[in-house]
């Protein structure tokens, strides 16, 4: 045996681009990566983002939803590749290399995570490119693709660790199925469990709302902490104990934060102070700057509805969009944030909701019936609903006055109860 003289060169600590490229272009990372890129193009072109209101939040959210299947597939390919290396003794050889097993594992993580991240960004870019981006953009919206990337890399870490522990061929597909099923099922939960949902498929952002920054940040931290904990647990020595304890503390802290933040995936954007207000006749509404073009038909619908009910019930003169505080904090909310109509008829339902007195007894059937009667009548008289309905019989002006007064009295009785 000839001893190799020391060269004085220190072993490389990181992963060079050449090594990473080589790892990404072989085995499971290449197969999974190319398939993910293909399916990312299909999904990116398949999502019709024109259905949403203008802005970045909805297309970025749809891009995040692709992480729901990209992350499990990435976890599976990472597990398959690490298992393959373990079966063929490459991990054993790596133990004698300068970087050891962690470096080899890191290489698989970066290779599979890199492909997954690329697929996620490609799908997101295609969806965003085809959407109407004229609406608002806030830093919280940028958290959505970042959250997807963190999820993909964390899933890759989980797969890398599991593949290094169990090299059975069944581990990778079972891990993929398990992760997907868990993520998919939690997307349909409600209440506090929703904070654990990594994506928000049923969420629809309006011009007034944005992703819940604290929730998304806590979710990202949780995913990264779990991945870090798994990676350190599978290491060795004192560092492992210290890192494991740190990871456990971080995970516990993040779960604590998640239990405290609101589970709603949306929050109001910071409103302009003061918000612009538009006046027409004797009515005015304060709106988000992006909705200024919609104020004319919105005020026309409001004028029609207040004109109908104004003789029976005192109506407000000033209204505001959701999330607007100044200059009219106590004004009734007139929510036109998700209406894309250019005619007054399209705003009538929102105007009725803003003008009709609110009942405090939603469980009372007589109150609900009275509210429904008034809603249908107002909708029909404003030309926005069916004109031929049994709920709004043809009545003389005097009978109509009595008909409306009776229903308003029912609602009022509930309010004063």
């Amino acid at each position: 045996v000839t001893a190799v003289p020391p060269t004085g060169a220190r072993p490389a600590r990181g992963v060079s681009y050449r090594v990473w490229r080589s790892a990404a272009a072989t085995g499971a990372p290449r197969v999974g990566g190319l398939l993910l890129l293909g399916i990312a193009v299909l999904t990116g072109l398949g999502v019709d983002a024109s259905a949403g209101t203008p802005g970045w939040a909805n297309p970025l959210n749809a891009g995040l939803v692709t992480a729901l299947f990209i992350a499990p597939v990435v976890a599976g390919t990472a597990a398959a590749q690490t298992g393959f290396l373990r079966r063929h003794g490459v991990l054993g050889v790596a133990r004698t290399a300068p970087g050891g097993v962690p470096r080899t594992r890191g290489l698989v993580l970066l290779a599979t995570g890199g492909w997954g991240g690329l697929a996620l960004l490609l799908a997101t870019a295609l969806i965003v490119a085809r959407a109407d981006r004229s609406g608002p953009f806030t830093p919280e919206m940028a958290l959505l693709p970042l959250s997807g990337l963190v999820g993909v890399v964390s899933a890759s870490a989980v797969g890398t660790v599991l593949g290094g522990i169990r090299d059975s061929r069944a581990v990778a597909p079972l891990l993929t199925l398990g992760l997907f099923t868990a993520g998919y099922a939690v997307s349909f939960t409600h209440g506090r469990w929703l904070t654990l949902s990594p994506t928000f498929p049923a969420t629809f952002y309006t011009v007034a709302t944005q992703p819940h920054g604290a929730l998304v940040a806590a979710q990202m931290l949780l995913a990264a902490s779990i991945a870090a904990a798994l990676l350190t647990v599978s290491g060795s020595g004192r560092r492992r104990t210290a890192a494991t304890l740190t990871a456990v503390v971080v995970v516990a802290a993040v779960v604590g934060v998640l239990m405290r933040v609101s589970p709603a995936p949306v929050e109001f954007r910071t409103a302009p102070d003061p918000a612009p207000c538009v006046t027409s006749a004797d009515l005015s509404m304060c709106v988000w700057p992006e909705d200024l073009t919609a104020t004319r038909p919105a005020l026309a619908a409001l004028t029609t509805v207040t004109g109908q009910i104004g003789g029976y019930w005192p109506t407000a003169r000033r209204y505001r969009e959701p999330g607007i505080i100044r200059p009219a904090p106590d004004a009734p909310v007139y929510d036109v944030t998700s209406i894309s109509s250019t005619t007054a008829v399209g705003f009538v339902p929102a105007a009725i909701t803003a003008v009709l007195p609110r009942s405090r007894c939603p469980a009372d059937m007589s109150v609900r019936a009275a509210e429904n009667d008034l809603y249908v009548w107002l909708e029909a008289t404003a030309g926005a609903g069916p004109t031929d309905t049994t709920d709004t019989p043809v009545l003389s002006p005097r009978q109509r006055r009595s008909w409306v007064a009776t229903r308003l009295a029912v609602i009022d009785r509930c309010r004063t109860r």
Binding site: L42, D48, G52, A80, P201, A202
Partner: protein, 204 residues
């Protein structure tokens, strides 16, 4: 010394075990039980749409069937198949056809599931897997049906009231074109996989 009957059964049993028969049978049995007793429909995500959309569970069972077929296409020794003087491709194709028939029967065991729907889902996902297995080996071939199926259930019905064309195997209203496409994918995958017997499966 084993008795003649045991001796006669030993060879086929060894062969079937080497080919992953028990694992495949177990998975297909699980598919049959799921089709029979599992939930009838699976909800799809509602991204950009308020419409509630769901697909029959049978549309997704093709994925489990593909994994069953993967288990049943194992070769105990690549060297034997590569050097065999007998026509191994035909034997491999016959095994795949048998497993696919079992898969279709398992999926179609569910109430209300037509044979055409079962053929559509099993054919598409199994065919993709065999095609990838022929190209890169069995170890990573599950990635193809898995990626396709998971992407389909996640975004295959986005922004629309029906299923996207690339997620055709989920559709409960199976069209003749969809079934034909699945059969074509399956036949391509099977023939490519069977022909690969002469080159071995180095990725395993």
């Amino acid at each position: 010394v084993p008795d003649p009957l045991k001796r006669r059964l030993l060879l086929p049993w060894t062969l079937v075990r080497g080919w992953g028969g028990p694992e495949a049978a177990l998975i297909l049995l699980a598919v049959g039980v799921l089709a029979r007793l599992g939930p009838r429909r699976v909800p799809l995500l509602s991204v950009f749409t308020a419409a509630d959309l769901s697909v029959p569970t049978a549309g997704l069972l093709g994925l489990l069937c593909a994994l069953g077929v993967l288990a049943g296409t194992r070769e105990p020794s690549d060297t034997l198949t590569v050097t065999s003087p007998r026509p191994v491709p035909a034997l491999r194709a016959a095994r795949v056809l048998l497993l696919a028939a079992g898969s279709v029967a398992a999926v179609a065991a569910g109430p209300g599931t037509t044979v055409a729907a079962a053929v559509t889902t099993v054919g598409a996902l199994t065919g993709e897997q065999l095609l990838l297995a022929a190209l890169v080996g069995r170890s990573f071939s599950w990635v193809a049906p898995m990626t396709h199926a998971l992407a389909a259930i996640t975004l295959g019905a986005t922004s629309r009231g029906d299923i996207a064309i690339w997620a055709w195997f989920l559709d409960s209203h199976t069209s003749a074109v969809g079934t034909a496409a699945s059969v074509l994918v399956f036949l391509t995958g099977t023939s490519t996989w069977a022909a690969r017997s002469r080159t071995g499966d180095s990725a395993d």
